[in-house]
Assembly symmetry: C2
Homo-oligomer: 401 residues x 2
């Protein structure tokens, strides 16, 4: 591939993302929905102007990292502490309800199988794919509406982080049952070690950055160092602890969120994000979709998979939120905010493929779940917020586009 | 390659670039020198922590585009018009002196060959590699010193753009003589057509952006649209006219430089550039260097090639600048500013390799020329400016780092 074809791809992605983003906004839907639809339109589904390349995939990876880092930077640590225990309960419920629902769904389609059999694990694996929430779309959407720092926003984010961790532990357990090489105990220990590591490194980096921005407030080196720290945390999390890189980036953001220049760092990250990496990530979801190999059975299963995937999260998380004394509308917001799936679901499915627990046609179902949840979540969240804002009006905090 | 290794590479590049950039600045040398040295240190030359990957190469491509677009945006059109004719003369001299010097150098090493013979064209090709100036380092360096908009800065930039065009025409002619398929007339026509195209599209886009920023001053969509336009121009230039993509990006910048929001667009581009793409590009030059396969003959030729490459540009451009009534010091600045070589020299060498006009060991020479010129030019420019500023002090326009 000639280097300059990248420029064509980027130009088309940026223009299409912005154009459909503005259209979506005019239709009162969030911009991300427009960007995903832009990907469907310019991608192999319709016009085929842009094809997902390795380069775009890698740029999208950076996009997710930037997004999660920004989300971390915007976190209010006091709020996180306050919402932590509740978030843990919500996350647990949000993992186990979809896990069981997914397994039951598989058995409903392909026959009930006895405990411990090959197809029993296949069924459990379909459930596992449903566990991991991907909050990037919810984050972007809450950010657009200026609700990221609200109690609901913080709860969703904390719960999603915890649910990611639980999801990865579940994945390793399920894979481990099939493959006696993997040591389940090791996974649990690694996860615990990562959080110990994060606390130690967090304590050190927080003080370094404090000293740093006393001397260099609003100087370029502060956001540059922050960004490098975020990349390093993403790498270390995945490489040495087996934790998802996005979790590492989010933790890096949380570590720096109380630093004086946090807003300045976030502003610079945001510019990188909205100019290039954000659009590439969201358009990329649309680009990945290919509707060529679909038949009636897959279509049926996909439809059921999507419905079960969405509803099980809303019920699991929403109900627990309700039990934790959130109001009806807020509990529903949490359920809806948690129902988005993203790259983690794809990574889990990929893992299952490599160990022979799912076959490749399930990928279409996973991608459809990602797309439908990515489009539905922001729309529903917007509706829910419009409803609650009507009851108790707040100053709208709309970003310029 | 796992996706997360990108994060490690990026973190190391960003930290090393910033660290050595600051060190370079403390040593009164420009930051870019520090960044190139950072590449040498973290790359295969010394520690081998980071290896040039496709992804990094493509990111560096975007880095160059952003740099040239920024340079275009900072251009003062009136100044360009004023310096145009002089720049043309300087560019011509700056192409032909190195072209002849390079050919003579080759013959001095490998024997004089008769006009029209195979090795005659090989000699001419070595000269051709020496023709194209790469101003990105000079631009960055002049920008750091706040001298980009000076008469010398504008002259260097205009001359470099023109010399790029002449260089590409020369390349196509030399390759054309060897390969009867290439139509030299077509190259000349394409080049002319590109500038006609640029004027027409420039007229249209200028008015679109004028209308655009009347309505949306300081709104995100202005820099986003500007960036997309830059990418599109880079693509179109290379794809449809065979002009270097960086020339297309520079022309896009010039088209938008008189728009009201030009500074706003440039500010956003700059953030993208200094956070990630700039360091990747400059560190990348160091990363590309591998000193494993060097022997005495190549070393001798390389040394001569570098000296001839540098001096021929200084003489060609400096002398013509002197003839055009620049003061001694300014003429020297122009000569020195024009002596940097970059990715264009590599592209030309690559082209020669593919048609059998150079062999692969010359690549070491080309890379050494790029490195030496990249390090020497900023240092010399800084010395020359320090000298002239002492004579007539100006307000220093130092950027924060």
């Amino acid at each position: 591939m000639e280097a300059y074809t990248i420029f064509k791809d980027l130009a088309i992605i940026i223009i299409a993302a912005k154009f459909f983003g503005i259209v979506a906004r005019k239709c009162k839907a969030p911009q991300v929905v427009g960007e995903i639809i832009a990907g469907l339109i310019i991608g192999p589904c319709i016009f085929g102007w842009v094809v997902q390349t390795d380069f775009l995939t890698e740029m999208a990876e950076i996009g997710v990292i930037l997004l999660m880092f920004s989300a971390g930077l915007e976190t209010d640590l006091k709020d996180l502490m306050k919402t932590g225990p509740i978030a843990l309960l919500i996350a647990c419920c949000g993992v186990f309800v979809p896990l069981i629902s997914g397994a039951v769904l598989y058995m409903a389609f392909y026959g009930v199988s006895p405990w411990g059999s090959e197809s029993f694990y296949k069924a459990v694996f379909i459930g596992t794919i449903l566990t991991a929430t991907s909050v990037s779309i919810t984050v972007e959407c809450l950010k657009e509406m200026g609700k990221l720092k609200s109690q609901v926003g913080t709860t969703i984010l904390s719960a999603a982080i915890i649910d990611d961790v639980i999801g990865i532990v579940v994945l390793t357990f399920v894979v481990g049952f099939k493959n006696p090489d993997a040591n389940q105990m090791k996974v649990v220990i690694n996860t615990l070690l990562f959080f110990v590591f994060a606390i130690v490194i967090g304590f050190i980096m927080y003080h370094i950055f404090r000293a740093f921005d006393e001397r260099y407030t609003h100087r370029r080196r502060v956001p540059i160092a922050g960004f490098a720290f975020c990349l390093a945390m993403a790498y270390v999390a995945e490489k040495y602890f087996g934790i998802a890189d996005i979790t590492g980036a989010y933790v890096a953001g949380i570590i720096l969120c109380s630093v004086k220049d946090a807003d300045y760092i976030e502003e610079k990250m945001d510019i990188n994000s909205y100019m290039m990496f954000g659009p590439i990530f969201f358009v990329g979801i649309g680009l990945k979709t290919n509707i060529d190999h679909i038949n009636a059975e897959i279509l049926m299963f996909t439809a059921a998979f999507v419905v079960v995937g969405l509803i099980s999260k809303v019920i699991g998380c929403g109900l627990m939120a309700k039990i934790c004394r959130f109001q009806n509308n807020d509990a529903l917001k949490i359920g809806v905010g948690m129902m988005t799936r993203g790259e983690v679901a794809l990574i889990v499915a990929q893992k299952g493929l490599s160990v022979g627990l799912v076959s490749s046609e399930f990928f279409t179902s996973v991608i459809m779940l990602i797309i439908v949840s990515s489009i539905l979540t922001p729309v529903l969240l917007k509706i829910l917020y419009a409803k609650s804002d009507k009851q108790e009006p707040l100053q709208p905090e709309v970003q310029s586009a």
